[in-house]
Symmetry: C2
Subunit: 117 residues, 2 copies
Amino acid sequence: MAKPLPVLEPPAVDCCAPLTEAPLTPEQADVLARRLKALADPVRLRLVSILLASPGQEACTCDLVGPLGLAQPTVSHHLKKLAEAGIVTGDRRGVWTHYRVSTEAITALLAMLSPLR
Amino acid sequence: MAKPLPVLEPPAVDCCAPLTEAPLTPEQADVLARRLKALADPVRLRLVSILLASPGQEACTCDLVGPLGLAQPTVSHHLKKLAEAGIVTGDRRGVWTHYRVSTEAITALLAMLSPLR
DNA sequence: GTTCAATATCGACGAACGTCGATATCTCCA
DNA sequence: TGGAGATATCGACGTTCGTCGATATTGAAC
């Protein structure tokens, strides 16, 4: 658990600064890169899309292992990465941990990226 | 030069499929992840933002080395990564190579990502 | 042709990453 | 209390990545 990255809330980056006029500071670039890295993996992208396509837009770890074709610890590892970046949230209900996508986080990420367009 | 990634054009991914209903295929996830990885680096994010903030929204390698504080081969390396992903284009004018951001590529990337929101 | 400046490639190094098996933790239920 | 199933953590392995110095390539100008 190296990098807790403020969960969810629009990140510490001044996300709406006129990116086309002033370059990102190294610190802003670090925060943005950390969030992008969390999503820039084929397995984690599939995880997010599977979650969104699941009934109620949520699923437990056990439901994700099969479709991905990976070992259970590997899936837990990826879910942890996504959770650290605030992209998914997991809550334990009995034996199962139900994960769902934080659409706010995705929206915030898109908002940070769109000035680059 | 391992992965030429079709330059620019909206990638081979069916980018507008209802991502919330059908999960990404492993192949779609690979293409999307490769593009995101190109951008998911603090140095490359700063490169893109510096280019956009430059006069005429373009700059040569020599103008980028100083602001980044990295060695020239390192900057060339990152520019190559961005170019392979179609995020920037470079054209040689005499001794200088002028790089500029492909706003189409950024737009395409955002379009692929927005269904996750 | 030779020289010089801008850029790209190469080779090496340490750090970070994705994956897995083994194991620990947690929760329910008998 | 104890057992079983779901999940998380740990330790190790090979791979990829970011960085740099050294070197090669390119193009302009003399």
